[in-house]
Subunit: 167 residues, 2 copies
Amino acid sequence: MVKELDEKAEALPDHVGWRLWQASRAWQAEFVAAMHAAGHGWFTEARAGLLGHIPRGGTRQSALIERSAISKQAVQQLLDGLEAEGVLERLPDPRDGRGKLVRYTRKGLDALRDGDRIKLQIESGYIDRIGRERFAALMDALRSLDAGRAHAGDMPVNVRGQTPETK
Amino acid sequence: MVKELDEKAEALPDHVGWRLWQASRAWQAEFVAAMHAAGHGWFTEARAGLLGHIPRGGTRQSALIERSAISKQAVQQLLDGLEAEGVLERLPDPRDGRGKLVRYTRKGLDALRDGDRIKLQIESGYIDRIGRERFAALMDALRSLDAGRAHAGDMPVNVRGQTPETK
DNA sequence: CCATATAGTCAAGATACTTGACGATTTTCC
DNA sequence: GGAAAATCGTCAAGTATCTTGACTATATGG
């Protein structure tokens, strides 16, 4: 870690925001690195965020735009990239001449499967590191925080750095 | 209204990475919004990340580069912006003709003061929301996680999935 | 005094977004 | 039935953040 120099001794931040930021960053870095190691070199945090909103059965592009909190143009650009990588494909929606359907390719489904595995591995590592009890307390606190927030109704929920999730 | 698509069964992710990410984003959004409301419209998350490494007494630019996990050029660009906003100023280091000292202006110190206040307010809100005990458990778990990471010889936080070795 | 390491800068480019404008359909409403 | 309006996706351009590469100026240590 950063070594403390004999500088005016202003400690590094230790408030909850800083800690959350650090922990989140570390998780993402670990996840992306593991995905790369698993051969999914196209995987990035931004793409992960979008993929998390695409069910295994596919979805309409417009539905995707609603779920993710970013602009439709941003979604489109991400989709363009993922399509170019061969992770997804876009088909015309037979029920709506304007719409398009977004669907995983085989390559995309493989990545999803690896993502689920990696997610569990990282979680295991966390439990080993801090103990099952502390880990449970962490999840409990984070869930409570989120529940409280939903109450207040603020907050943009964009999804980045989440694993491809499934039922 | 074409809305009868049956993809309702898609649950939101609930693993630790997702929760951490969400909590971190929520904190940042709240903090930045409060800073803006307090009149510090120049405040952004990226800048906050850098400012968090600058002690009130100022620091050398090179020390800043060591502490933050981003490239020196990125630090410089952030610094350029903050200097242009009048939050910081850069002076030649009298002890080293190559070096520069980075120092807060009055405007910067005002922002710092407001930031400290806001941090405490947000923390208070969290404690109200989830209880003092849960909050303490959260901090404990996050600190343990970080300590465990340092132990593992993990690098500080270099973002974006890259793995900079060599130090 | 020279070799080399360190401090900072300049330039160019990648990524992940943004807003604005637009054509093509579908829906609404009279 | 048909125009007005809403929705879906796209194209183009711009911004913020961060990257690598190349360079200058100063310091340091044989």
